[in-house]
Amino acid sequence: MTLNRRDFLKVSGAGAAVALTGCATTASSSAARPHVVVVGAGFGGATCAKYLRQWGPNIDVTLIEPNDKFVSCPISNWVIGGLRTMDDITHGYDNLPKHGIKMVKDYVVAVDAAKRTVKTRGGATISYDRLVLSPGIEILTDTVKGYKEAEAAGKVVHAWKAGPQTALLRKQLEAMPDGGTYVLSVPAAPYRCPPGPYERACLVANYFKQAKPKSKIILLDGNPDVVSKKPLFTDAWNTLYAGMIEYRPNNAPLAVDGSKMIVTTEFDEVKGDVLNVVPRQRAGDVCAQAGVRNDSAGTWCTVNFDTFESTTVPNVHILGDSILAPLPKSGHLATNHAKVCAAAIVELLAGRQPDPIPVIANTCYSATSGTTSGYVAHVYRYEAGKGYVAQPEGGATPKGSEIVFAYQESWAKNIWANALD
């Protein structure tokens, strides 16, 4: 590692005054450039790294990511439904270094928040002035009995992190005989992408309708009702896919038997040809390493919403699905958390007050068929003591349309470009 601001402070007595006032204008030496380490190059992390460089050209940014490529969860249901290919949702990180971001292909195994260092599996110790964690979710496969064995045998998938399981699920659906049963489960909220399971049911039904019309879908919901965009999805299920989708609320899977291809819930034993069980989730492991996975269940991270800094560990910010918030866990919101967080870090490192009234918006499109989509959209304004307050007129479309399908496709290209181009 090159000398960063903290190293500089260790060797320079004059630097101590800079650290105490946090006043960047007196720290004109090139060795006093602040260093932000971002963990995870998904929608939150990659976008945050880019905007830190754009708004804080004096800030050094290191982005740590173990994967070679970005595979998008948004539009992955289109791959599962046969509308797009894995190539369409897979993007390289080649453009990020052009913004002056230092990319490190590695995995963070330890965070020392007191010393402000992260350690990687590859053996590097990297110090930071501020740390941004955007690891996404960890899937709690232990919460469903038999899951790990069935998953290892390729008999059950979640496909809730886009990647190899997305491609495997598509293959399994293609191989399924006409007249077969696809079992899809929805975890109890909160989980990544609230409308995702219902969009997936629509797009698999769209595929079955064309390719194997005697097949059916059993949708086991761990919630008492459809969690998101209910009118949109129930309209599609009733009008486009009548008789194909059997919806069972309050029916969370407790066990999976991969040899018998059976999912057991509190009420039912359900046999399927393709089992797509999505377990509950929690904030990524690095959040535990940093001591910020701190809600009462030890599941998610609590943050101050004007800066996205942990409520308990200073100088550590958390973005995206890992935070506990009365907001949906969406890639769109992760991207917008990233912008508010980047702006706040730029101001904090310069000794200025962050924007006291940030505003973020969520826009979430879901396809209901190969030509129609709907959306939900809300604007949230931060109010001290209240957090983000949803503004009037937010809400969802009751019916899918072709123009919104075109917007969904355009949205995906633009949000990918926000993070990666």
Binding site: Q391, N414, N418
Partner: protein
């Protein structure tokens, strides 16, 4: 520290309300960047969603006010426009007009 915070806050609001082109404050840059999540980085869109870069400020402000009031029909924009103030429309309009 509190004095500094108060001054910073006052300066911030002044800038946000003035909406001077080329001198966008962090609030304006941040809210405009959240528009770009759909409308493309730098306000340049790929695909069916319109670009915002280089739009005439008056056109942008009128469009947002009309989406908010319902005078202009749209698919999703009333839901977004309703969450922002007139001062923010002015500031965002100046900012997007400054992007080429």
């Amino acid at each position: 520290m509190y004095k500094k915070t108060t001054l910073a806050f006052a300066g911030f609001v002044g800038l946000a309300l003035s909406g001077i082109a080329g001198a966008a404050d962090m609030h304006t840059k941040t809210i405009s960047s959240t528009c770009m999540t759909c409308h493309g980085p730098g306000g340049k869109s790929k695909g069916a969603i319109p670009s915002l870069a280089g739009l005439e400020k008056d056109y942008f402000v009128k469009s947002m006010k009309d989406f908010k009031s319902g005078a202009r029909a749209g698919t999703i924009m009333k839901r977004h426009a309703s969450g922002y103030t007139d001062a923010e429309f002015e500031a965002m309009g100046a900012y997007f007009a400054s992007l080429k």
